[in-house]
């Protein structure tokens, strides 16, 4: 704790003249330039907003929604069966730790919730081509000043109408930047993500979401295995009982 406070004070002193600068850049060598470093342990915090608040469904999507609501309830949730929310929903998702590892050629994001994983390739480092639509899609990024602009395509459909459904045509653009804000008198880093979801088959206009992560180096990324309950249900159906490994006797001597 003392170390954290001391570190916080050191950061505050080092950047005392930079506090008024909205995008606090912590320099990192990347491809010959300096860019903000998003690496670290983060936790959702600092606010979220969405415009428009009501999903602007197309007429055809409204019809799908009406049919969906006739059959599906809130309990019919893919998350219960460990289906990843994927992009863009992961951005503002669960209250669990998020770890970002940044290298010049890519960023890797681990979400504790659902054990989700995402790769963002840097456009100037020969990114691979997408080969399989997925929940996280295929993300390629470039820097615009201190903002990382990420474009995501190759998303597989997410047909859950009450949970920001998306089609294969969904296109997500994110602008990520760092901000320094005061938290209980301590300068604290926040990672602000301005997301624009465009999916003309589903939504008449782009949906803009602002989601924020707070730097939390005091946390750790825990394992989150989502399927234990489902496995238990299967074992119960089969009438199987797993051996109790911890009930084994301690070795003698």
């Amino acid at each position: 704790m003392i170390r954290l406070v001391v570190t916080g004070i050191a950061i505050a002193m080092a950047f005392a003249t930079a506090i008024s600068i909205p995008n606090l850049a912590l320099a990192q060598s990347s491809g010959g330039g300096t860019h903000p470093d998003f690496s670290g342990l983060w936790f959702p915090g600092g606010g979220r907003s969405q415009t428009p608040q009501q999903a602007p469904y197309t007429d055809a999507a409204k019809a799908l929604l009406a049919d969906y609501e006739k059959s599906f309830t809130l309990d019919d949730d893919p998350g219960r069966y460990c289906i990843w929310p994927g992009m863009p929903r992961a951005v503002w998702g669960a209250p669990f730790t998020v770890e970002i590892q940044q290298r010049p050629q890519d960023l890797t994001i681990f979400w504790e919730g659902y054990g989700m994983y995402r790769k963002i390739y840097m456009a100037d480092h020969n990114p691979p081509e997408p080969i399989l639509p997925s929940a996280m899609g295929h993300s390629v990024a470039h820097w615009e000043g201190d903002a990382l602009v990420v474009e995501t395509t190759s998303l597989k459909p997410y047909p859950y109408m009450t949970r920001m459904a998306t089609s294969s045509d969904a296109h997500v653009v994110e602008r990520l930047h760092l901000e320094q804000r005061d938290v209980n008198g301590q300068p604290t880093k926040f990672l602000v993500n301005e997301v624009v979801l465009t999916d003309p088959k589903v939504y008449k206009e782009p949906i803009r979401i602002m989601a924020t992560l707070q730097l939390r180096p005091d946390l750790q990324l825990l394992e989150y295995t989502c399927s234990d309950t489902l496995w238990d249900e299967y074992l119960n159906e089969r009438g199987l009982t797993l051996p109790d490994m911890d009930a084994l006797p301690d070795p003698e001597g």
Binding site: L74, D75, F96, D228, T229
Partner: protein, 125 residues
């Protein structure tokens, strides 16, 4: 109207302590109830997305009753609150606050755990 109320409850729960755990609406539970039990932990499943626990309570007449908490906080969330796995290991005496399932009054949502030293770990107030 009822559906709207349930939807509002679900939305409220989502914005309270369980946004990630809100895989489902929790309307299957009567969350207005806070039934307190005290007993000895029989089994613990400290896992995600929901922990589960059974508690054996001794009734005033000496009979024993097993309380089945089929869902509670995500394991990761409750250990971040400071609960240690050994605090709720089988054999430990604890208090637990439950909300019964509407269609199965023997199954409960685990709303809070209270340890013998008074520390309380609440998922939903």
């Amino acid at each position: 109207m009822r559906r709207r109320l349930l939807g509002a409850l679900a939305a409220a729960l989502t914005t309270m302590a369980l946004p990630a755990a809100a895989h489902h609406s929790f309307a299957i539970y009567d969350m207005s109830q806070n039934i307190e039990f005290e007993g000895v932990v029989e089994t613990t499943k400290l896992r995600n997305p929901h922990m589960a626990l059974t508690l054996v309570q001794t009734n005033p007449d000496g009979t024993k009753q097993t309380i089945n908490f089929v869902e509670g906080a995500p394991a990761n969330m409750i250990v971040r609150m400071g609960l240690k796995p050994e605090d709720i290991a089988p054999g430990q005496t604890i208090k637990a606050i439950g909300a019964p399932r509407r269609d199965d009054p023997n199954a409960y949502f685990l709303k809070a755990i209270i340890l013998p030293d008074g520390r309380r770990f609440s998922v939903i107030n």
